[in-house]
């Protein structure tokens, strides 16, 4: 039943009869959040692989500055660079997160379905088709620096539709969490991951429409020939600038932090202390990301104003919630058992990398703070040119650390909930190799670009000469990072496809205290055979059901 009406007593026990339609028809017409969630995750992983391979190609082009070797000209290089970064975010990482939330949020709130089930399915198909059209628009010489006007317009329309579809999926997720919770499940008792999905969804719904508005303006600019040539269309890159920089980019890290908290307490058998504090920290990180993103107001075609006080405060303050969340997770690890497996290692690595990313991003705040001091005191302060990082490749390094950390968190989460999603576990050894490749890739991308920023490489994409020696070497390090990350994405794809088609162990490897663990793996149609009963309130913050030995699997197969 699509949840579009007020829940009644009968709703929670109503069962949906399994469909007898052929598999393909079932796939195309389903409104079951579990199938839709799986499709989001698998598609996201595959597109992330494609985007990282493309980013690796543009990375190799950066190894030799001053000439264009792998691509036809600078315009094509810019398009490829833009396609890699855009697809990685809106075709890979965000869809994986949306997929996990679509699958898990209804289960975690004890609902039999996602709100607006048909809408959730429509959001997926719209996103998938418009992503394909987006790629075609790039191939047809559209996008930033595009040479064919119609293809550029198609790029704008397709990108706008991609974002719109993601917004609609977020509406379904947020509505489910806000309105379809089982009786007694108060907001402060939500699992950290569910709360994080809610913050992620609300933040996306407040930020992404601004991006759609910017795309609408870009459409008018191109139609009316205000952006008439390739050079002028380079400014289209600025459409996504603000949302892909810290702290606005912490938007994608919020669900990963929430999932990491749940994974840590499930794997170690020790719930994190101060559950409400953890929820508050996730919410505060969301507020900081939102405050920074509102800076994109009026930012049409202009670079981000790094001297903005809200942005500086946002970057400085964002370190604190990430640090505290990591501390809470480590506290559980310290007092519980420590299994060395992909979910736990992936979660802790992603939190640590996010902390590194947020800490390194502080360096870029020295310049505006010094500028402020100069303005207030009226005296000139000598600042090393190496610390003039804003407007340089430095921010791409920070982006690398945050996106890479999010990817590692997704790897951990997919491994943790794989049995719940497909009824079979993913290969843990392959998962550890995936994490290793992902870690190397993230660090190489981050170190390469941060270092290049220190040496004065301008914000990407750039084909330029006259840069300090060492920039090309650091660009090579970043390119190797992309290859490594693409390798990690390939291994994850292989692991997921193998499990989805019947590989992997049937034995449920672990359990947890949240409601998704109180049904079979994967859950039946309607999710729960009987209305789920909440564990005692104390178990949310103290040890009880968390980490209980896995019960005999009631798996229904893949």
């Amino acid at each position: 039943m699509a949840l579009t009406q007020t829940r009644t007593e009968s709703d929670s026990t109503e069962r949906i009869e399994p469909s007898s339609k052929p598999a393909l028809e079932q796939l195309l017409s389903t409104s079951d959040h579990k199938t839709v969630g799986r499709m989001w995750v698998v598609s996201g992983v595959v597109i992330a692989l494609f985007a990282l391979a493309l980013s690796a190609a543009t990375g190799f082009e950066h190894m030799n500055l001053g000439s264009v070797d792998l691509f036809e000209d600078e315009g094509q290089f810019t398009q490829a660079w833009s396609m890699g970064r855009t697809l990685l975010l809106f075709g890979g990482v965000v869809p994986i997160l949306v997929g996990l939330a679509t699958y898990l949020a209804p289960l975690q709130v004890g609902s039999s379905a996602i709100a607006f089930g048909r809408g959730a399915a429509a959001a997926f198909w719209t996103w998938l088709l418009s992503t394909l059209v987006l790629v075609l628009a790039y191939i047809g010489n559209g996008g930033p620096a595009g040479g064919v006007k119609d293809a550029v317009l198609l790029w704008i329309l397709a990108f706008g539709t991609v974002v719109l579809a993601i917004c609609w999926a977020l509406v379904c997720i947020a509505t489910t969490i806000l309105g379809a919770r089982t009786v007694g499940l108060r907001m402060d008792r939500l699992p950290a991951s569910t709360w994080a999905y809610l913050v992620f969804a609300l933040l996306g719904l407040m930020s992404l429409p601004i991006l759609i508005g910017e795309l609408g303006l870009a459409y008018i600019d191109v139609t009316a020939d205000y952006l008439a040539d390739k050079q002028a269309r380079m400014s289209l890159l600025s459409v996504t600038t603000s949302i892909s920089l810290a702290p606005a980019l912490y938007w994608i890290s919020i669900p990963v932090l929430g999932m990491a908290i749940d994974i840590v307490q499930s794997q170690t058998g020790r719930p994190v202390r101060f559950h409400r504090l953890a929820l508050s920290l996730l919410g505060s990180l969301g507020l900081l990301a939102f405050a920074a993103d509102t800076l994109s107001f009026g930012g049409r075609g202009r670079p981000v104003d790094f001297n903005n006080a809200i942005l500086v405060i946002g970057v400085l303050a964002a370190v604190l919630p990430i640090l505290l969340l990591l501390s809470l997770a480590l506290d559980s690890v310290k007092s519980g058992s420590i299994p060395i497996n992909t979910p736990l290692v992936g979660s802790l690595l992603s939190m640590a990398l996010l902390l590194v990313g947020s800490a390194v991003s502080l360096l870029a705040q020295i310049e505006p703070i010094v500028g402020f001091i100069e303005k207030v005191s009226g005296r000139s302060v000598s600042l090393s040119s190496a610390l003039s990082l804003n407007g340089s490749a430095f921010h791409d390094g920070i982006r690398g650390l945050i996106v890479g950390a999010t990817f590692l968190g997704c790897v951990g989460a997919i491994h943790h909930w794989a049995h719940k999603i497909w009824g079979r576990s993913l290969d843990d050894k392959l998962g550890m190799v995936t994490l290793l490749l992902g870690l190397v890739g993230t660090l190489a991308w981050g170190v390469g670009m941060v270092g290049a920023g220190f040496l004065g490489e301008p914000a990407l994409p750039v084909i330029s000469t006259g840069l300090k020696s060492g920039v090309e070497a650091l660009n090579t390090v970043a390119a190797i990072g992309f290859v490594s990350l693409a390798g990690a994405a390939a291994l994850l794809t292989m692991n997921v496809v193998r499990t989805a088609f019947g590989g992997g162990s049937l034995l449920e490897p672990w359990s947890g205290s949240s409601l998704e663990w109180m049904t079979s793996s994967p859950p039946p149609v309607g999710n729960f055979t009987e209305a789920p009963v909440l564990p005692p309130a104390s178990s949310v913050e103290r040890d009880s059901l968390v980490g209980a030995p896995a019960s005999d699997s009631t798996s229904q197969g893949a």
Binding site: T6, V171, T175, L205, P209, G213, I220, T223, R300
Partner: protein, 205 residues
């Protein structure tokens, strides 16, 4: 005098009623309306900043030969305010299971919505703002902003029509007013957005 304890009358099997759950359609509508408002706020921010930048340089915001009359925007504002009254009438009627009045109020609302769309088209006609051109120097942001609001009003009108038809089909009554509440919420947000556009564009010019 005998003590009477009314609770004695309750049998043991009585359980507490299920708490009232929020309405999913209303929640979803509120989220969409919030997202929509953020999109409009973003566009408005760009409009106000661009206008302020031009004026700060001593320029003129509206191109020569373009004038924005006030009569039509004011009439549009009055039309939409009247539609809010009609929508409140529809909500009140459905809550009292007064279907006849619900249909009349919803129909009025849709007529007001179409009136707004027609008046905007007429305003564009007489305003004479070019869509592009060398003498313009910058893109006409007014079309982006008003156009976005036109889309929102179109969606709001469609929402009201669908909910009206569903009411006609018996889906909504005094026992379940969720659809009409949702439509009313969306409609009212759309009207508030127009009032902001009205002030930012038509009044301040």
């Amino acid at each position: 005098m005998t003590d009477i304890t009314i609770f004695d009358a309750l049998p043991d099997t009585v359980v507490a009623p299920e708490p009232t759950r929020p309405r999913l359609l209303v929640i979803g509508t509120a989220l969409v309306a919030g997202a929509m408002s953020m999109g409009m706020a973003g566009l408005l921010g760009i409009y106000v900043e661009s206008r302020a930048a031009v004026l700060a340089e001593g320029g003129v915001w509206l191109p020569s030969g373009v004038s924005i009359p006030l009569t039509q925007p004011n009439m549009m504002a009055i039309t939409l305010v009247m539609s809010v009254v009609a929508m409140a009438w529809a909500v009140s009627a459905i809550r009292h299971d007064d279907r006849a009045n619900t249909y009349i109020a919803l129909t009025l609302c849709v007529i007001f919505g179409f009136s707004y769309l027609a008046q905007t088209a007429f305003l564009f006609e007489i305003m004479g703002m070019p869509a592009a051109g060398d003498d313009l120097g910058r893109p006409p942001l007014i079309y982006a902003l008003v156009g976005a609001h036109l889309i929102i009003m179109g969606v709001a009108t469609l929402y009201v029509v669908i909910m009206g038809l569903r009411t006609l089909g018996g889906n909504y009554s005094a026992k379940d007013v969720e659809g009409i509440y949702g439509a009313a919420l969306f409609w009212n947000v759309a009207v508030v957005l127009y009032l902001i556009v009205w002030y930012a564009i038509y009044i301040t010019k």
